[in-house]
Structure formats: structure tokens, C-alpha cells
């Protein structure tokens, strides 16, 4: 477990350094953007962070279903860990998006469908974390969090489809049958996505380690309490 975590940590570092190199040295500045074209480079890590948010919340969704079916504590721990990581990456999306928005639209924030649904998503999983930290007994709290984790996921496809369903000023990078990026830009985005996926895996292993140790700690404390 320790070895696997170290290996993933090392791969994450290497791929992230490569991604940074590609973003700043390899990816071209788009020629079809008139104002501040270099700001488009925010897209690589902004989109990657959004992808990890979706992936993390999908893991919460699946793990929550498996927990409700089996009542196995490991699924609850996995859901809790993934939700926290998802919130961290969605925070990155919500912080970097407005910076791009200020440069491109001259506004930090607009109540655009994509921006609004992403903010709602962030609040949903923030509420999920609050539920997890509530004073309820373990079993009840895990059940409640699992139900919330399943219902909350409904917003993920809405966020993804928001720019396709409604009129929006948010750019569409991937549209059916076409990609709005040059091959070099696409390579950079692809490597950034891989880097962030490894970062997610590394965080997940760390977070699961902590959760496992906490459970073991609680077990020992419980035994000691029963003894004395």
C-alpha cells in the first residue's frame, strides 16, 4: 500500500511537471482570440480540475449506492474521501474560472448556466461534508450521507450539459464531432488531464489511509472504554 502510494506520488509529480512544461512552453497561444490570448492557457488546468470534480463525485455516487446495498463501511469511507477531494478540485474550478472570465468577458462572475450549476454543485458537496461531520450516530450519518451523495450527483450531468442545453457565454471545448483545439493544444490538455487524474488517485490513497487509521483508532478506544 505504502509502495503503491509512493509510486503514484512519483508518477503524479513527473506527469505534472510535464503538463506545466507543455502549458507554458509547448502549447501555442490561440490566434483566433483578440484580447489577452495567453489567458486561454488557464483552460488546461481549469478543465482538468473540472474533470476531477466530476470523477470524484461519480465515485461518491457509485460508492454511496454500494454502501446502501451492502452496508459495508469501506464504501462509506471511499465516498467520504472522494467527496472531499471533489470539493477541493471544484474550488479550483470556481477560483480560476472567474479569472478567465475577467480577462475574456470583463466580469468576474455572471449568472451563466454553467457557472451557476457549478456553484450549486460545490454547495451540494459542501453540505454533504457538513452532514458527514454532524453529531449523528455513525450508521445513521453514513446512510444519510449516502442518500445525499446519490441525489447530489444529479447536478453533475446538468453542469456538463448546461452549455449545450441553454444559451451561454461559457466556451464549449468539445462539441459533437469536433474539437475547438489544435493538436498541440489537445496534447497539452490530455497530459494535464492525466496529471490531475494521478493527483486524484494519490489524494484518494492518502485520504483512505487516514480514514482507515481513524477507524482503527476508534476501535482501540472503544475496546479500552469497555475494559475500564
Amino acid at each position: 500500500m505504502r509502495r503503491r502510494k509512493q509510486a503514484i506520488g512519483l508518477i503524479t509529480l513527473v506527469v505534472t511537471v510535464l503538463a506545466v512544461y507543455l502549458v507554458f512552453m509547448y502549447a501555442p497561444v490561440p490566434s483566433n482570440v483578440r484580447d489577452l490570448p495567453e489567458v486561454q492557457k488557464i483552460l488546461y488546468f481549469h478543465v482538468s480540475a473540472a474533470w476531477i470534480g466530476f470523477l470524484a463525485f461519480f465515485v461518491v455516487f457509485v460508492a454511496s449506492i454500494l454502501y446502501l446495498k451492502s452496508r459495508d463501511r469501506k464504501w462509506d469511507v471511499l465516498a467520504a474521501s472522494s467527496a472531499e477531494i471533489g470539493v477541493v478540485f471544484t474550488t479550483i474550478v470556481l477560483l480560476t474560472g472567474p479569472i478567465w472570465g475577467k480577462a475574456a468577458w470583463n466580469a468576474w462572475w455572471t449568472w451563466d448556466p454553467r457557472l451557476t450549476t457549478t456553484l450549486v454543485l460545490w454547495f451540494i458537496y459542501l453540505a454533504y461534508i457538513v452532514i458527514r461531520n454532524s453529531a449523528e450516530e455513525d450508521e445513521k450519518r453514513a446512510r444519510l450521507a449516502a442518500i445525499f451523495g446519490i441525489i447530489g450527483f444529479v447536478d453533475v450531468p446538468i453542469v456538463f450539459m448546461a452549455i449545450r442545453w441553454w444559451r451561454t457565454i461559457h466556451p464549449v471545448v468539445f462539441e459533437a464531432g469536433q474539437v475547438g483545439l489544435t493538436p498541440k493544444m489537445l496534447t497539452t490538455l490530455f497530459v494535464s488531464l492525466i496529471a490531475f487524474t494521478f493527483l486524484y488517485l494519490y489524494y484518494l490513497l492518502l485520504r483512505l489511509d487516514i480514514a482507515k487509521a481513524k477507524l482503527e483508532l476508534a476501535g482501540i478506544k472503544e475496546k479500552l472504554r469497555a475494559k475500564f
Binding site: 480540475a49 477541493v88 474550488t91 479550483i92 489524494y203 487509521a213
Partner: protein, 43 residues
């Protein structure tokens, strides 16, 4: 350029803070677990 710099600075700060938070948390829990295990063995 300053927008690009600001965006990537924020990304690295968030990643750095969360990584340090997880490392510290892991060390804290591991240390507490070790102490407790040793205490139980000593009894």
C-alpha cells in the same frame, strides 16, 4: 499575463495546502495510533 499568473498561483496554492493538510493529518493519526497501540501492549 497577470491573469494567467494569478490563476496558476491559485491552483498551486490550493494543491500545496491540501497536500500539506493530508500529510499532516496522516502523521497525526499514525502517531496517535502508534502511542495507543504501545499503551495497550504495555498494559
Amino acid at each position: 499575463m497577470s491573469y494567467l499568473f494569478a490563476a496558476y498561483t491559485i491552483i498551486w496554492v490550493v494543491i500545496f495546502l491540501y497536500t500539506v493538510y493530508l500529510w499532516r493529518k496522516q502523521n497525526e493519526v499514525a502517531t496517535e495510533l502508534e502511542i495507543l497501540k504501545r499503551a495497550v501492549e504495555d498494559k
